[in-house]
């Protein structure tokens, strides 16, 4: 049988959208979703499910969608994934569920991401997730950080009856979902609505609390009566290039740039108190989601020429395929196999970036071909450069928690039950794995909740 082609998701026109912060992908209508759902052949041993980090029961929710049982379809996803509207939008589906879909062998996979988004949004509009949990077992647990890892952990524990409090360092909840990923990919009201659901479930939120500073892990256990703690503090510390000129004015780390725009809502002054200063020519260093977000955001803020500097080739770009494609459509210039080696300035404001041309050698430990220097250079005039080459865990908790084992690069060490070197203290998400994905962080939060429950049960006896 010949396969029907994948049903395209409507998108905002590239020209129009590169001037606004509204969502790029508009999502399926009910009819489009049905059409796409019809393409799933309901495999007996669905490869897609195996490839999803939290094992969403994909063919089952798709079937329910086809039967017009949207409430049930939502429940089905929600059993495994509490943030379907978010994951449907930001998961790297091509290397997870969709990458494994049987249909890819002969053509294009089912658009699982868009279907999950559709069902997730339906659930949100119909308040299917906001169910208060009345039962409480009187046991207090604390969660550090309100990113996807912390949110998933808190939701799972609350459902089991625990009294859960989330402590967040910033003045708003959601972690990278709020301060990192821009509105045009993930509208902030979606994140807020997920957080409201948790609040309705009975999870307590405390903002402006930097654990390790405002209150330590030890104080939470010994003085505040928390019986177990989950650390989901993410990987928020920007990595540096380590090249001359990096501290010139006009050089941003992606975190600063995106935080100003997303969390502090910088647009132009005087409408925003935390403004964003950006010239016409903007270079972005890196090839991941963060780099794509920074480049596309720069374009939307009015930069005329935005180009990406990436030291490998196009097939090695770690960003989601959709985002690379969208960036190209929006006029972002990809300067591949180019590695910045020096920034120079005038009056201490950055003016030029010097790059070395690279070529590809043998595959390295990551399986990608290693970029090698060629000794050839080029220089580009710039007004700003945004460094987006990765993040490491923030040192605050590590430095202020006695007896907490960490890796040389700062990650927290956990055992097979996600417990740290301190009994009763668990960890998961980017703070354990290094910068990864929303769904992996969420999965870790959920798994840790399971182990925390077991730990607390055995302790009770």
């Amino acid at each position: 049988m010949k396969q029907a082609p994948r049903n395209r998701v409507q998108e905002q026109d590239p020209q129009a959208r590169s001037q606004n912060f509204l969502e790029v992908a508009l999502g399926y209508s009910l009819e489009e979703a049905r059409q796409e759902a019809l393409r799933c052949i309901d495999c007996k041993n669905p490869r897609c499910v195996q490839a999803c980090p939290v094992k969403v029961k994909i063919p089952e929710f798709i079937k329910l969608l086809l039967e017009d049982s949207l409430d049930e379809a939502f429940e089905k996803i929600y059993e495994d994934n509490i943030l379907p509207s978010i994951c449907g939008r930001v998961c790297p589906q091509e290397s997870q569920c969709e990458g494994a879909c049987i249909l890819t062998i002969k053509g294009e996979s089912v658009n699982i991401g868009a279907l999950e988004r559709f069902v997730g949004d339906y659930g949100m509009e119909h308040n299917l997730a906001d169910k208060p949990v009345k039962d409480t077992n009187g046991i207090k647990v604390a969660v550090v950080g309100s990113g996807p890892a912390g949110l998933a952990n808190a939701a799972s524990l609350r459902k089991k009856g625990y009294e859960v409090t989330i402590y967040e360092a910033l003045h708003d909840y959601g972690g990278v979902l709020k301060y990192g990923i821009p509105d045009f990919r993930l509208p902030k009201d979606i994140v807020t609505s997920e957080i409201n659901n948790l609040e309705k479930m009975g999870v307590k939120f405390i903002k402006n609390a930097v654990i390790g500073k405002s209150i330590t892990i030890e104080q939470l256990m010994k003085e505040e009566g928390y019986k177990s703690i989950f650390i989901g503090s993410g990987a928020g510390l920007p990595s540096s290039l380590g090249i001359p000129g990096e501290n010139l004015s006009g050089v941003y780390y992606a975190n600063e740039f995106l935080t100003r725009v997303n969390l502090m809502k910088s647009r132009a002054v005087p409408d925003s108190l935390t403004p964003m200063k950006l010239g016409d020519n903007v270079a972005v260093v890196g090839g991941g989601n963060v780099a794509m977000d920074a480049a596309r955001t720069a374009k939307r803020l009015g930069a005329k020429n935005v180009f990406i500097l990436y030291r490998r080739d196009k097939t090695s770009l770690p960003a989601r395929l959709d985002e690379i494609h969208h960036a190209e459509q929006e006029g972002i210039d990809f300067r591949l196999l180019e590695n910045p080696v020096e920034l120079t300035g005038e009056d201490r404001i950055v003016k030029e970036v010097k790059v070395e041309k690279m070529k590809l050698g043998e595959p390295d430990t990551s399986g990608r071909r290693r970029p090698l220097p060629t000794g050839e250079y080029a220089t580009y005039p710039i007004d700003n450069i945004i460094i987006s080459i990765g993040q490491k865990p923030n040192p605050i908790i590590k430095d202020n928690t006695m007896g907490l084992d960490t890796q040389p690069w700062g990650g927290i060490v956990t055992d097979e039950y996600l417990m740290t070197s301190i009994p009763g203290v668990f960890a998961g998400g980017d703070v354990v794995t290094g910068a990864a994905t929303v769904i992996l962080a969420m999965g870790a939060g959920k798994d840790a909740a399971h182990h925390m429950h077991e730990y607390l049960q055995t302790k009770q006896q």
Partner: protein, 276 residues
């Protein structure tokens, strides 16, 4: 929301405020700072913790631009939207015999808890307070119990020596061999010159850097400073650093990158005020 419990005007431009913030007060030490947002639309601004009394956190701020002026409009009983801390590393209270504190303008506020700590460990403490004029010499009385000598300097000579803090510091360093350490807090340009002078006279020096900050937790990197060619984050590694190897010129450049935009915000506030 954080309640303002006390407020006092120290001079035309500088206010004292005590804010109820148990999670800040709990672990605060001299040298720590807080970050606040006045209201829901506010920017995040850092201020040093000037004192802790129970659940109360004291701050002293100079009404510079938009956010500090907005803060100045709040009164006792009003609330501040966000107030987070204690941030940064506590001040390095070193094992010294005789410390001279050099405070410029509102730098007098963050200096106070440090000198208190020096006094408490038995160090002899001298203080040079410098300001534009008499009215801007703040906290003189508050310092009295903790310092052995206080020297004043004003630009216009309205009180103390007419001139800069360095004019007072120079003879002290030349004549008093017991002085073995200097702490300078104030405008970057002042800290730069005090550092040069301390170095020339072979005394160690600590300074308190004030780069532009957003989160204050090591996440954005806006606050980076160069010290002996190495990059540090002001908010988690500082704000206090040994002065000797600080790249003050870089700090001044990075501080002023947003000058134009800050000015626009300030005008906005003026317009709003005159409209009402």
């Amino acid at each position: 929301m954080y309640k303002i419990v006390e407020k006092k005007q120290l001079n035309k431009d500088v206010d004292f405020m005590a804010v109820e913030a148990p999670l800040v007060a709990r672990n605060a030490e001299p040298g720590h700072f807080i970050i606040l947002r006045v209201d829901k639309e506010g920017e995040r601004i850092p201020l040093t913790i000037a004192g802790i009394r129970g659940n109360l956190v004291d701050i002293i701020y100079q009404k510079m631009g938009y956010s500090t002026q907005l803060l100045g409009k709040k009164e006792v009983g009003d609330t501040i939207e966000d107030f987070v801390g204690p941030l940064g590393q506590a001040a390095h209270i070193r094992d010294k015999k005789h410390v001279v504190g050099v405070a410029g303008g509102v730098g007098s506020a963050p200096m106070l808890p440090q000198l208190k700590a020096y006094k408490a460990q038995g160090t002899k403490v001298s203080l040079i307070l410098g300001a534009r004029n008499k009215e801007y010499l703040i906290l003189k009385e508050e310092y009295a119990p903790y310092v052995d000598h206080i020297y004043l300097a004003t630009d216009d000579g309205s009180e103390g020596t007419k001139g800069l803090v360095t004019d007072v510091l120079k003879p002290l360093l030349e004549q008093d061999d017991t002085i073995d350490h200097v702490v300078a807090i104030g405008p970057v340009i002042m800290m730069k010159f005090v550092t040069m002078m301390a170095k020339a006279h072979k005394r160690s020096i600590d300074v308190s850097l004030n780069p532009i900050m957003i989160d204050g937790t090591g996440m954005c990197g806006n606050c980076r400073v160069s010290i002996a060619g190495k990059t540090y984050f002001g908010c988690i590694d500082g704000p206090d650093f040994p002065g000797e190897d600080v790249d003050f010129d870089e700090l001044m450049s990075r501080q002023s990158y947003y000058k134009d935009e800050e000015h626009v915000c300030y005008l906005k506030l003026k317009n709003e005020t005159s409209a009402t």
